[in-house]
Amino acid sequence: MNTVTLTVNGKAASAAIEPRTHLADYLRETHNLTGTHIGCEHGVCGACTLLVDGVPTRSCITFAVTCQQAEVTTIEGLDEDDIATELRAAFSREHGLQCGYCTPGMIVSARDVVLRMEAPSEHDIRVAMSGNLCRCTGYVGIVRAIQGVIEARRARGIAAVPDGNR
């Protein structure tokens, strides 16, 4: 067992874990943060995407032990986040979800697209979101939701941050 000490959704956390425990399992099993969904478990489907030190990360292929001193933000930690709040409303409005399994990962990746891309075309958004699979919606609502949030934010004078504040 190894000890990992990190910050989860703004709170200090520490636990003894097996090094093979991936970050998604660690968050779900140790902290009961079940908003992080596990899909393919080999980095293809994007359901487990969350933020590590502010940038989207596949938590199923990131071992918790490698996140020593990292700041991890799960979907639960984005309740008060401006972009995520706007995306949640837009996903509801545009029918960007049905079963909801992919949605936490979708919101995290979509937030990154809204944050970093100034004026993406529909095609740009589809390419940027291609690492997140949805088996219900056919993506049309998801893409429309993201496009709507971007247009609204740019109209309010909020510019993109191309490197996502790294």
Binding site: R20, H42, G43, P56, R58, I61, F63, S130
Partner: protein, 279 residues
């Protein structure tokens, strides 16, 4: 989908990592971003006794700017290159290719050294860095050695690593103002591994004309003198000089016997040339 139980070490310098690698009674695996090794561990295709995480080694995250090349530490990420946190000396080639690697979440953690060492023939860095004439430096118990990127890959998923060796850096030559490059990959789905890659570099001022056929069954096919495919590199519309039959013959000579496969690779190279970048 859980890895075997392994021990974990996070050395602070290259010497400590090499000492861990030297334990020949253990199966030791190095990991950087873990974007290829992570899935392989989850699927138990790799079952190490000890996992050595090299992302805590400061030296491997450094960039050295030399007069005629830039040297990237092994743990520079794809996103570091995409976002220009690493200065671009390739007239846009590396940032442009970086933008097309897998997905942003993968690019945030995946590293250039890890990708090369994983040695997947379909990986982007392998093809573009071979086209640019980049070199890797490997450190081991008997010192350091530097070899061409294309020579580092022996075959699919097999890098030329001797006992106890690790990749520490990648040296990328600085292109001249006359250089032009192109890169094209065929993917069934955006972000997936490529089925065919074409890449080229012409740099008349430095006397370079190279073409690479990537995403083969094995190591990339590197045509170190591609003047017969690309002309002298000074033509404005490079693709008018492209000889697809000669490219097909070169691919066939290197052992790709399936005509459809060969055609897909010739087309990838042609499209790379049609999309030549000079800026």
């Amino acid at each position: 989908m859980k890895p075997v139980n392994f021990d974990y070490a996070r050395p602070a310098d290259v010497a400590a990592a090499l000492a861990l690698l030297a334990q020949d009674d253990l199966s030791v695996k190095l990991m950087a971003g873990g974007q290829s090794l992570g899935p392989m561990l989850n699927m138990r295709l790799v079952q190490p006794d000890l996992l050595v995480d090299i992302t805590g080694i400061e030296e491997l995250r450094q960039v050295q700017d030399r007069p005629d090349e830039i040297v990237l530490g092994a743990c520079i990420t794809h996103a570091d290159i995409e976002d220009l946190r690493v200065p671009d000396v390739t007239r846009g080639a590396l940032p442009s290719v970086a933008r097309g690697i897998a997905y942003r979440a993968v690019r945030n953690r995946g590293t250039v050294g890890g990708s090369l060492t994983h040695a997947d023939p379909s990986a982007d860095w392998l093809s573009i860095l071979s086209a640019l004439g980049a070199k890797v430096t490997l450190c081991g118990p008997s010192g350091a050695r530097t070899i061409a990127v294309e020579d580092y890959v022996l075959g699919a998923l097999e890098a030329d690593l001797r006992q106890g060796e690790m990749l520490v850096s990648v040296a990328v030559p600085k292109l001249s103002a006359s250089a032009r490059w192109g890169y094209y990959k065929t993917c069934r789905k955006t972000g997936e591994f490529a089925h065919a890659i074409g890449a080229f570099l012409v740099d008349p001022d430095r006397g370079v004309s190279r073409a690479v056929i990537g995403a083969t069954e094995s190591r990339p096919i590197v045509i170190a003198d591609a003047t017969h495919l690309l002309g002298d590199g000074r033509l404005e519309r490079l693709h008018t000089a492209f000889d697809g039959d000669a490219a097909g013959a070169a691919i066939e000579a290197s052992g790709m016997s399936d005509p459809i496969d060969r055609q897909i690779h010739v087309v990838a190279l042609r499209r790379a040339i049609e999309r030549a970048h000079s800026a």
